[in-house]
Symmetry: D2
Subunit: 341 residues, 4 copies
């Protein structure tokens, strides 16, 4: 059965597996002090065009979100986030577990609105009782968002400026960053991300790796003793090579961008297929996640041959479902899908 259930259903890109085998017998030092981690760091800094960036490797997305938020905020500070932000809704309270409040903003197709953000912060600082409140110190955005949507460069610039004006950090959850950067409808580059954010991460788990997210502090601004705090979160692994080797491969010869681009080409074909067949879209996206409104009977029928993701109830007779492509999706998958829809 073909599956468009998510972008983490397959193993890893074969070049990664080859490199794991090739390097397997090398005796390397632990805790990300090895040469592959070092090499991967340099390649990522080069791709970002940021000499003073600091790069760290973590295992997964929730972990990266938790560690970044928790280590960057002081005790009395919180993080602003769209109501639908992953940290607010799908991470089992991982941020609050470390003692910090998430301050939620309205979401618009998964995105926050710069004007609403500015209003929120201005209202906060105009409040004489703000000393009884959690202080906003970070803005969390996901790009692509949980709904597959993207910020424009102009929107990112506005948000970045507001952050600077009010002494907040801009943090981008890039679990699917490659699929955003390679979208057919974006004007945002990796360099832009590195220029506009204070910290972001480049998702590996959903883009070709077995696991791994590369956290980038963009201007020598990693919190002091960051690795000690990573250890304290239980997030440090002994064989850091597992992460270093994977990112070293992904950032060699543009692999990360090429496999992302492939996923996006598959998404475009998938989208066109649904359009051609007259399906209703839940919202408009230009990344690897496409959201379709299915009549429930049709949905049950389709399930017999295709795996896809349940998203939410639309009305009593319809359901929103998600079809995700990835680096591993093939033209055959698309062709087979066409037979069933």
């Amino acid at each position: 059965m073909i599956s468009f259930e998510s972008d983490y259903i397959k193993g890893a890109h074969k070049k990664i597996l080859e490199k794991l085998i090739e390097t397997n017998d090398e005796a390397l030092s632990g805790y990300s002090t090895d040469s592959y981690c070092a090499s991967a760091r340099e390649k990522i800094k080069a791709a970002c065009k940021k000499d003073d960036a600091e790069v760290f490797f973590l295992v997964g997305g929730t972990q990266a979100n938790q560690v970044v938020v928790s280590t960057c905020l002081r005790q009395f500070e919180g993080v602003l986030c769209a109501k639908t932000g992953h940290i607010n809704d799908h991470e089992a309270g991982a941020v609050e577990f470390t003692g910090h409040k998430i301050l939620d903003l309205p979401q618009h197709k998964g995105k926050i609105d710069p004007e609403e953000l500015k209003d929120w912060v201005e209202t906060f600082y105009a409040d004489d009782n703000r000393d009884h409140k959690v202080f906003p110190k970070m803005v969390y955005i996901s790009h692509p968002t949980e709904y597959g949507t993207l910020y424009s460069k102009n929107e990112l610039e506005q948000i970045s400026k507001i952050c600077k004006d009010f002494n907040m950090m801009l943090f981008m959850d890039g679990a699917r960053l490659g699929y955003g950067l390679m979208s057919w409808d974006t004007d945002v580059t990796l360099e832009d991300v590195a220029n506009l954010c204070d910290v972001f991460y480049i998702g590996g788990t959903k883009v070709g790796a077995l696991c791994g997210e590369a956290v980038v502090f963009t201007h020598a601004n990693a919190p002091e003793h960051f690795m000690t705090m990573v250890k304290q979160h239980g997030a440090m692994i002994a064989k850091g090579r597992l992460l270093g080797i994977q990112f070293d491969v992904l950032f060699t010869d543009n692999l990360y961008f090429e496999i992302s681009k492939h996923a996006i080409e598959m998404a475009k074909k998938l989208k066109e297929l649904f359009i051609k067949k007259g399906y209703q879209f839940f919202l408009e996206t230009s990344t690897n996640q496409q959201f379709i409104v299915l009549e429930n009977k049709k949905m049950e029928e389709l399930k017999k041959n295709v795996r896809f993701g349940f998203w939410e109830k639309y009305d009593d007779n319809h359901t929103v479902v998600r079809f995700a492509t990835s680096w591993a999706t093939t033209q055959e998958d698309i062709d087979t899908l066409e037979e069933f829809i």
Copy 2:
């Protein structure tokens, strides 16, 4: 240069890599709900001879310690541990980060003494002011300990009984469990561990895997909603297959025990070599870690050809160093070492 620096310097056992490649294109569900995780769980339960055990896969040792302690204890409860226990001394306060106190006991070559444990708990419950104190609810032991030493079956039985008598859980950190079970000087089996502990983990990272620890709750006693709390700790990975496949391989055809046994055989040869050459041992161990007292000049000379671990200062002219074998150590490594010492 040969290296006895630690037991996590090499990649993974080749059978694991082969299986990763073999299964790479299978579309599997995420978050450890896949068939390989299921299979690995059953094999581990069978190896433990515990039908009602519950098995979960985590990425690393500090993470496993943090998650187990934090999810098993209520807010006002703490964990008893040898002063030198890994959670007390080398995990950057990961347990305290979750709000729990570590109650330390004297260490004897890394072990706690059952009598001292009993005295401590009896004194606690005799104290009329105990309501102003952290309640002891768990005993943490590492086996092998941080010093490579082992508890006897009798000692484990005594500790287990004290735990039962005072309503505490017995938790064994088995980061190097294979090397303990295959020691030439132990009467403790995996079955014993499963019978005597309430929860323990089988270390993969240091015993043939790229990463991964299998947490075993031995009698259907995993905390309710354990996986939600794993997520909350940032410890859940999307591609749970990475852990499931590795443990499935390790627990097929006794691989885990065979590679552990090999490491122990190498350790025995290494130990005999040092004895033969008249070196001074810091303490007596029968596992894969051997601690030697080196004259400082000798140490500097040896460093030119062999990598080993610094342990602690012995006196102004001597240093304690650690030589560790592992599943990946070869007879050639031992032979080469002989040339240099």
Copy 3:
């Protein structure tokens, strides 16, 4: 200058001060084990008509909220609350500081809507991915709310039933409970509160005491070792007598209700005064807090003679302000106010 700034601007009811003096030389045991705490507990249980209630004394409202939420929830559980709930907006993240997420619901004049609550919980339990989310285990309501509004008995019954149906605790923040119970427009009694809530507190700080809140677990359902956790929160005071004596006085001869009634009578007069003078009300309340919309110039003028609380900006020319009466407000205060408005 007369002040309607808040309900905590004066010291304590004179009967409390008299009792503090009268008992001052008695040697009493510490940590709320004294006879006055015991007596106060019995009187409160009697007033609630709940033999199996368990009563504890804490110092302040934020502390009571933090301690109750944190001790009643397990690690993966959160608390539902109106967006404007005190714990969500004005306590500097005290709940999140203990690791728990606040799950916010829409507010309607400070209240949650039973239907919306039910929908939220049903949607949660219908979500197959709920294991990646914080579980709802408690519903927090304030009564009176932060806007001075009150739940009807019927609304409380509905909310209580939903809590029971979905295994959640109902927790009422009663920082101003007396002023709610003595409202001229309520059908809710203390007995109702004790019957419908799992835990609530009777506010002393704002109702005649120097400090102190009486936390009532209504059916022998206080968390085990509650006092140890109170200590752990830094919330236990050595001279528990300070709290016991105050509540003993407040619950002798109906004092708590009588002084609350007095405050409400003053509020009614104050409200009628504003009506008579044609002022605009921000919303309709029947408790000790009255919210008025003032033209900004008028507001500045009024400030010269009367203290009141800033609430929020209404529009560019108007501001919402709060006038609060209390147990200590006098007819003279009202008469003087009339001169200035």
Copy 4:
């Protein structure tokens, strides 16, 4: 029955009660922004001879310890403390509850040894693996200690220097500070304490107040947004006047020192009485706590007429008990005691 059970068995000094009554009808602003808090702050700064000190009022000792430690440390930092330090042993894990590890040092009659402290810190910084450990950032001492003993000025100077040399804060728990400063055997003044510590508190609860501890950051070094964090800990009270008025009285006309001196004079008489009668002392102290070793039968007999505190078992036939004097102890109490011992 006379009682020497503790130093918190009586209410408050009568001048405090008088002032509470005198000021009761004044309308004061909340949250320690009132004029009495302001006045008390100035008087305390004057008593410390520290113009740039910052003074805050908290309710109790455990709360003060928790708030100070938690707000001064970053996430990865811990606090050094004698094994018997109050925060380590008698506060139900209040420090760990906020995520921080207590790093314990050997105790010598309740005190830490400067040399051992220095060795500990030097060993820490010499450890190449210190990045996997909790960093020492604060030294906690109690003065008097839990055993009633005192540091000499020279010892404090040594500890203070070590703190400076290794960039640590020196924090003194002064729950009984008055009784230490007025000891017949000390060379330490309040001015010395303010000069040598980075932060300390002046205990009110045990020295004449109903509740309250005055936290003094000695050189404009209070953490930014300290009051917001106090709120976040649930430690801020609405009627801050309760604390301000008490400390204003205590620091008017040397009252704090005079009542402390009285307690010490009573302690001296009590000590001489026990010496005269040939009792065995558990250790030598010159403050308000005296520790006596009683034969168990004698202890039971004495209990019929005198209340005192159980400390610890001495041997099978003897028990260590504590007799505490306080500001409220009278000559009559001593005389009556003489009849029974």
